[in-house]
């Protein structure tokens, strides 16, 4: 018998604090497996954000920094400019990256900063209790859009990959999801491609990963997967928005 699925070395033995069925755990594992497979664990530096994944520095079994809210791409820039041969990545949620930290990610992309951004989009602020996020869907009920998101009060959702794809800077932009086994496998490929491009010094790579938040969406984990597929995919279509040579 051969072990075909086990905990990657790039994760510590610490249990995740995430809620039951939250797909952050799957995404952590995909990033860690990728780092293992590419042999980067001992030369990687990760940047944890503020948000649900703030404790990512405890979970990844490699050198980790914790950044102030939204600033992970700037912090990653500072690390990468000292350690150009290290694999430098940020792990950020949608509030962190697309609201308070939008400027930092856009300018890191414009500079073609040779870092990898793992951007987890679950359409809500998780850690603080389910407030509206820049990625919250129209009509979606949150604790600060109790009547459902509407333009007059909260504006429109942001499509980060599409926005960055209008610019010259990024080398790789991909949106994937983790709501089914096939999608998880595709997400892994995109993450791997992003890290490979960084190690080939191709420049800025970002993988947006659609993820669930059963607790703050007010659903059980399985219904959350359905909601992601039915509601989020039409707004956030999957695919590569910038690809190698493309």
């Amino acid at each position: 018998m051969k072990i075909v699925a086990k905990r990657p070395e790039s994760l510590t033995s610490k249990d995740f604090h995430y809620c039951p069925g939250c797909t952050h755990g799957i995404i952590h594992r995909l990033v860690a497996e990728t780092i293992d497979e590419l042999g980067l664990r001992e030369s990687a530096v990760g940047i944890a954000p503020v948000g649900c994944s703030v404790l990512a520095y405890e979970y990844f079994n490699l050198d980790m920094l914790q950044a102030s809210h939204g600033r992970a791409p700037a912090v990653a820039t500072g690390v990468k400019r000292v350690l150009p041969d290290c694999a430098v990545f940020t792990y950020q949620g949608d509030g962190d990256l697309a609201a308070i930290g939008l400027s930092e990610v856009v300018h890191a992309a414009l500079r073609g900063e040779n870092i990898t951004i793992i951007f987890v989009n679950n359409a809500i602020y998780g850690m603080t209790g389910g407030q509206i996020a820049p990625t919250t869907l129209m009509g979606q009920v949150t604790t600060t859009s109790p009547g459902g998101r509407e333009v007059g009060m909260s504006g429109n959702p942001i499509k980060v990959c599409e926005m960055l794809a209008t610019q010259q800077g990024p080398a790789y932009l991909s949106r994937v999801s983790v709501h089914s086994p096939a999608h998880v496998r595709r997400a892994k490929k995109a993450i791997r491609k992003a890290f490979e491009m960084q190690m080939q010094k191709k420049g800025f790579s970002l993988v947006e990963i659609l993820s669930t938040c059963p607790t703050n969406w007010g659903m059980d984990p399985l219904s959350s997967l359905d909601w992601l597929e039915e509601e989020m995919l039409p707004m956030y279509p999957l695919g590569e928005f910038r690809r190698p040579g493309g």
């Binding site: 912090v75 690390v79 400027s103």
Partner: protein, 353 residues
């Protein structure tokens, strides 16, 4: 030793290079723009990194990143820009990261003006950002000191693993003076930093972090920081005296205000008034010991600042109620003249006799 005629802001840039700093991140703001301009030319010459960031906030977080990776790193700005950097400075103090932050102060509050001022004393000395932390604050009063204090700042930052601030002002940054540069200037090797996040090859992982969700752990962390700050208070007080041996009126001033106060001391002496000057070179830790010594023969203190009188509080604490503390200052970027400070000394002398 070689001598160069240098602009204050350029001297800061050159000193950073000499200190082994190879990473600079900053955002344009008057009156410190010559620092990024100088380093945008010099950093590539020495294989260093210069980034003009998208904001002061991004700059200080790039500093956070490079410092975490073990590099000597600097940013500079002026008053409103420093306000934006304070969150990052708090994070760096909390995460025990060394860095050098230069503030060439201008008039405030708000957008204020672009003329030299000293209104950021509280911000620099009393914390600025959130939480129980301190930064060593060096107060140069010449282009020479801008150079030597910048080099010193890198050493102190690494020694204590804490941000160090250089509190200059627009006048110091813009003026030109001779600077004596030690011949070994380019040879400072940055110290080993085993705590830095450089990839975990051959060792266990490191975490650079200021989050402690358990209040008891956070208190333990804070106690450790406070012990460090206590060591700074014991070891890092710096000051200079001028004509204080028999003085009756002791002026206390730093930076540009100290240069003017020194002129006023000479004027007053010429008018047979026994004036002297005590010049803090560190604003935090405030040189309390030096102040008490300098005030040995004094009957009154006169604090001179380009602000509403922010250092007055520390002078009162330092003198422990033994002498009356008076104040003369200008605000908004108005630089007081030697004549008006001398007149204030004479007025005070009249009150005393």
């Amino acid at each position: 030793m070689k001598t160069r005629l240098m602009k204050g802001n350029d001297a800061v840039g050159e000193a950073a290079i000499a200190a082994g700093c190879r990473h600079y991140y900053g955002y344009p703001i008057t009156p410190q723009n010559e620092i990024p301009e100088y380093l945008s030319k010099r950093m590539p010459e020495v294989g260093g990194v210069f980034i003009q960031s998208e904001s002061e906030v991004a700059a200080i977080n790039m500093v956070y990143g490079s410092s975490s990776a073990g590099a000597r790193v600097m940013t500079s700005s002026s008053s409103p820009g420093i306000s934006l950097k304070t969150e990052g400075i708090s994070y760096m103090a909390g995460s025990e990261l060394p860095a050098v932050i230069v503030n060439m102060m201008r008039g405030g509050p708000g957008l204020g003006g672009i003329q030299p001022a000293q209104g950021d004393y509280f911000q620099a000395v009393k914390g600025g950002g959130h939480g129980d932390y301190r930064t060593i604050v060096l107060a140069p009063a010449s282009v020479q000191e801008l150079y030597s204090f910048t080099r010193l700042a890198f050493d102190l930052a690494d020694l204590y693993r804490n941000p160090v601030m250089i509190l200059g002002d627009g006048l110091l940054g813009q003026m030109m003076e001779e600077v004596e540069i030690p011949v070994d200037a380019a040879d400072t090797p940055p110290p080993e930093k085993p705590w830095a996040a450089t990839g975990c090859r051959g060792r266990s992982k490191v975490i650079i972090n200021s989050l402690y969700l358990d209040p008891h752990q956070l208190e333990v962390h804070n106690r450790k920081l406070q012990e460090k700050f206590s060591r700074m208070v014991e070891r890092e007080q710096r000051s200079q005296e001028y004509r204080t041996r028999d003085c009756e009126i002791l002026l206390v001033a730093y930076g540009t205000a100290a240069r003017i106060a020194r002129g006023a001391v000479d004027e007053a002496r010429a008018q047979n008034i026994k004036a002297g000057l005590f010049r803090p070179q560190t604003l935090w830790p405030f040189p309390n010991g030096g102040l008490l010594e300098a005030a040995g023969t004094a009957k009154a203190l006169l604090v001179v600042e380009m602000s509403a009188g922010q250092m007055v509080e520390d002078v009162k604490l330092g003198i422990e109620g033994r002498l009356p503390v008076h104040f003369y200052g200008r605000m908004g970027g108005v630089v007081p003249s030697v004549g008006e400070v001398t007149a204030e000394i004479r007025r005070l002398e009249g009150e005393l006799s």
